[in-house]
Symmetry: C2
Subunit: 686 residues, 2 copies
């Protein structure tokens, strides 16, 4: 492996020289010496890039640490992890630095099923056997991105299994006993030997990325390639989607703006007001019936087209990033997967097996009812809240005392407390349930966990709105509530995501700020463990989904939604970038081929929106007036609405079917790969 | 290739000796001599099975015939079809007999992507390169079924392309000119050199199959393996589906029977009658509201479960028959596919190319509007019919003359004539349109053609029923109509499919009957071209689909539907078997992995049925009475119905999602194959 100053990635910045000029000699050590030796001649290198920091349990005995170092650096064929290990400052330091030699990286690339460009620039599934056919396969810093290299180190570590029964030295027998094929990483974690695993920042690359990303004043566009390269696939996909979605908001914002600015003579309402600049809290009434219908139709078609085009974009990105042929299901199961040790019928490898029917039984008989129960509790809470509120109101009206006035706030407070407790409890239950369902693949685990939390969050966010819209049928209240939600959410977001971090970063945390300028990188590496861990992309996605819900489910009630969301997302893009670069540890991000379960969530919301909009439309007083003028009774209106709803769903399905999920050239590349794979199977020597 | 008497398939019956004892020495010739020689030593055999009869144009010159024979028997590497050719009785006879040598069959097996058992009995995609690893790869009669061998001969013939510019001797220049890479078969057809191509029956196997199939008195079960082996995949899938569907009808028939037989005191109606044995023409009124609801719910869930279970069955059958990994898209395009000659970007082969967007444009801008226009014409015809009928009725009531009474029949007659003309015209237009859309794969062509005809037929069959149900809202009439349709359709089917063929077969066609007993097989072979060509499975499937439509769309109107269909299908199974064995030429049947587009058609019908049943339910007078008793107004009933409809669709989707599309063991086998394929790609030598 080339030294940093020689790598093309950093050739523009003489980082290596910086490093050597640095105040701490240890820094140079960490790149140059102190590493366990590589086991094959092709991996030998005179300098090694530290990729992952392993935070060890405090006060670990030195023989335990050296046992661990031996295990991690031993070749995989001898039951090790095949990594390069550095003991940190000395044997008594409670960190290990990890890196991976070339052969480990290449083999893992094949196992992950990553595609890489060959010498002609065509993407092909990487094959270790034919590595010389792939571009840069001798220079790991070009061949794999930093995020991929770090992810591979994590995979190697996590998938390490004991080749024989053994005891971890220096650890009590009940904790340090390794059974045959037991997951070593899990055991070490349980025994408190490993506290944390942190992918290390590359300060030079980070500074360059930040400059490119959010220090510039450009309004649109994200440096997706650099994000993918530095932070990894799942993060890059999140930012790609956010970018794509924000751009797609523009036509809707424009339409909503035009409708809201329509000359007042075309609008009549009970509370006629100047609504050129409608304040959300005002009683601004409905736009014209025609506008309403246009808005609803447009938003329904828009969501379909948006999601279909995103699929195409997503498949293009996955092709470029070489993640379109991932083979997670053929890889080792996730570390905490348990089951009877047996031969995997597909791969023929010895690994824990867990029957699929048992998982499905757990899903159907335990997880689903439990999730349903929590959803029931949400509804119960809401019903209780409305009941208590009306009781308090009645009491206050009859007694008019100060106590009764104070009691007026009780239901709200109680409901907020209840909701919070419920949310926290559910979060724990969802994680435990998903663990217990015992999914083999990490992505399946993530999908099931996400789905659980998502359903609950969505329910929590929208139950009240649905109640107002369809049970109370109070559209002005819905409009007010929606507007204030949009404004309040935005304000909270801005404050919590920009202002607070900015204050912390600039005023409360001066040492960190200094480190940015000229502190030695060595300390920077160790300091990274002091940052809070990255909370994951879940909350970011759910924010988008809830937004999308406001927009598509109730679009015809408040036409300015899209405009507000557009403004919000333009700042969101920057604050998210700032957050991930500055405020948290670098996360491990697996290579992914898309946004996974979120795609489905957005699509389901799209279909719900057709129903919601149709019902909102027929409930709108303006349209009801209009239809009474035309001479339709309520049953006929209803039949009409049902008809329109069914037709719109059909149109959505047809549009979704007509727009191919991948561009033609991606399809051809995929089929080509499949053809080659088929041919290879036919021609192999057996 | 082994002689017939040596092949295990026929070992029980000493057919070869029969043949040699036969009156015509030519028969023996056709198995033993007169064949063009095989080109590789491994294919040389002392006797050849005639598989396909090529009916040549009358009065073909003998030099044309010998040119054709040379071309067909030349190896594929030299631009021939690699077949074995027999000139029939002599050079002036207007037939050619075709067979295929072992290497051609094996290579075609690989190209089709068929799976075959290896020596351990596991199915694996056949590879010519590793042929020695597959069971029976030295005995073609065991390795491939008769239908597969015949299909391969057809493929080889149809995919033959001219390797150089040439003229067909003995044919006028404007007809017999072959351009570079032009499809030879198409040119020969156009020039009138080839009139027909008929897969030959194997009388011995046919007699055995018939005995096993429908001469027995067993009520259930089809000899699917034998059908697949003798008639091929698509035919076997049809019979499997019919069998599966008929069995699935039982619970519905039982439920319907119970509901129809329910004690009269639980039923009240305007025309109370003894309905223990309800005659369909009678005015027998509705079953109880509860029964109605149960019937509707059951039929909706039933259709989902049926289709999901069929998917599993289908994937199991495809695995057993080795058709689960077909690679049609990588094979040669269908013969009549045209386009600019170019390099296929996927396979790298030189072949006609046609841009996909152009096809989509044709589909969207021409085919869809035209189909829509025809559907409009159907509606127009129906509207005209109703209009004319009411006018005639009025006139008859006012004049009461004989002429007016005769005129009463005019609208019906005119409508029938109109519908027939429309149907014929549409059939032609649909075929031409699909040809013009220029699909690359035969299956895509079939699917698009089927879809077109299906939509029209479906519309034609159900427009009137929908009109009665939802526009006229005349449920008793719907019930009557449905009952008479079911009875009449059944009677017509029985007559046209059993009685007429039986008469023809037993009384009008004595020579054919004699041939069954002891006529020489030689004549039998030539006689096969006198039978009418098999009309395809389309009409069989559409019959099932229309049945399924009666059952699921209007199930709650006439509960005995399922019982009648069950009886109908039990005879249908036998008559279809009889038809394909005795009354028509043997068809070419491609290996397929399922019932293709029909699966989707049935599923769509399943969703339509939810809507239809919900609306029929709320229109049912009994339920309306009931809900008025409970105190719901019509708007509330409607809202309730919409809610129920949406929930049922959701339930259908969830059930469909929860039942895996393939059994676990099939999934494991599939993943295993994919894993091996991936590994092979990684390990190939490049």
């Amino acid at each position: 492996m080339a030294c940093p100053e020689k790598t093309p990635l950093q050739s523009a910045s003489p980082e290596g020289q910086d490093l050597k000029r640095g105040s701490s000699s240890m820094l140079t050590d960490w790149w140059i010496s102190g590493w366990s030796p590589a086991h094959c001649p092709c991996c030998a290198s005179d300098c090694v890039e530290p990729m992952v920091l392993l935070q060890l349990g405090e006060g670990m005995e030195s023989n335990t640490k050296s046992w661990m170092m031996r295990l991690l650096s031993r070749p995989q064929t001898q039951g090790g992890a095949g990594l390069l290990v550095h003991p940190g400052e000395d044997d008594f330091n409670d960190v290990l630095l990890l890196s991976a030699p070339r052969c480990t990286l290449l083999q893992a690339t094949e196992e992950l099923g990553l595609c890489r460009p060959d010498h002609d620039g065509n993407m092909a599934t990487f094959s270790y056997h034919n590595k010389q056919l792939f571009r840069h396969s001798d220079n790991m810093q070009e061949f794999l991105t930093l995020a991929e290299r770090q992810f591979i180190v994590k995979c190697e570590l996590e998938s390490l299994r004991a080749l024989e029964v053994q005891r971890i030295p220096g650890v009590p027998a009940h904790l340090g006993h390794l059974k045959f094929r037991e997951n070593v990483f899990q055991t070490m974690r349980k025994a408190g030997l490993i506290m944390d695993m942190i992918p290390l920042h590359n300060q030079k690359q980070l500074v360059a990325l930040r400059k490119e990303w959010y220090s510039h004043t450009r309004l649109w566009g994200q440096p997706l390639e650099s994000i993918q390269s530095y932070f990894g696939g799942s993060v890059a996909f999140y930012f790609s989607f956010l970018d794509f979605y924000t751009r797609a908001l523009m036509p809707m914002a424009l339409l909503g703006g035009v409708l809201a600015l329509m000359p007042p003579e075309t609008r009549k309402g009970t509370a006629m007001e100047d609504t050129e600049e409608p304040e959300p809290e005002s009683d601004s009434e409905w736009v014209s019936p025609g506008g309403l219908v246009i808005m609803a139709m447009m938003s329904m078609l828009w969501s379909t087209v948006l999601l279909e085009l995103w699929k195409r974009r997503s498949s293009t990105l996955a092709y470029h990033w070489g993640t379109n042929r991932l083979t997670e299901r053929f890889a080792e199961p996730r570390p905490s997967f348990y089951g009877e040790l047996g031969v995997n019928p597909v791969t023929g490898r010895l690994e824990p097996l867990f029957p699929a029917w048992q998982r499905q039984l757990r899903l159907a008989l335990v997880s689903t009812p439990l999730v349903g129960m929590f959803l029931g509790l949400v509804v119960l809470g809401m019903t209780g809240f409305y009941w208590a509120q009306s009781r308090a109101q009645d009491w206050h009206e009859s007694s008019q005392s100060l106590i009764s006035m104070a009691l007026l706030y009780m239901p709200s407070v109680a409901h907020i407390v209840y909701t919070n407790i419920l949310g926290t409890a559910y979060g724990k239950v969802a994680l435990r349930l998903t663990e217990w369902e015992n999914h083999r693949e990490e992505s399946a685990f993530q999908n099931h966990h996400t789905t659980k939390v998502l359903v609950f969050t969505f329910f929590n966010c929208f139950a009240v709105l649905f109640h107002i819209a369809f049970v109370k049928q109070d559209l002005p209240l819905l409009q007010k509530r929606l507007a204030s939600l949009l404004i309040v959410t935005q304000l909270i977001n801005q404050v919590s995501e920009v202002v607070v971090p900015f204050i912390i970063d600039h005023f409360l945390n001066p040492p960190e700020r200094k480190e940015e300028d000229d502190d030695p990188e060595a300390d920077a590496i160790l300091d990274q463990s002091n940052l809070p861990p990255f909370p994951g992309l879940f909350s970011e996605y759910i924010e988008l989904l809830v937004q999308f819900g406001y927009l598509s489910l109730f679009s015809c009630v408040y036409p300015l939604t899209a405009l507000l969301l557009l403004l919000n997302n333009l700042t969101e893009l920057r604050t998210d970038a700032y957050k991930i670069c500055k405020l948290f540890r670098k996360p491990f991000a697996p290579p992914t081929a898309g946004i996974g379960v979120w795609q489905a969530a957005f699509e389901i919301l799209g279909f719900l929106s057709v129903m919601s909009n149709c019902w909102l439309l027929i409930m709108s007083p303006r349209l009801q007036e209009f239809s009474q003028e035309v001479g339709l009774n309520s049953t006929q209106i209803l039949v009409l609405a049902v008809l329109v709803e069914h037709i719109l769903i059909l149109v959505k399905l047809i549009v979704a079917f007509l727009i191919p999920d991948e561009p033609d050239w991606v399809r051809i590349q995929r089929e080509k790969a499949e053809f080659h794979s088929m041919r290879a199977l036919g021609q192999q020597k057996l």
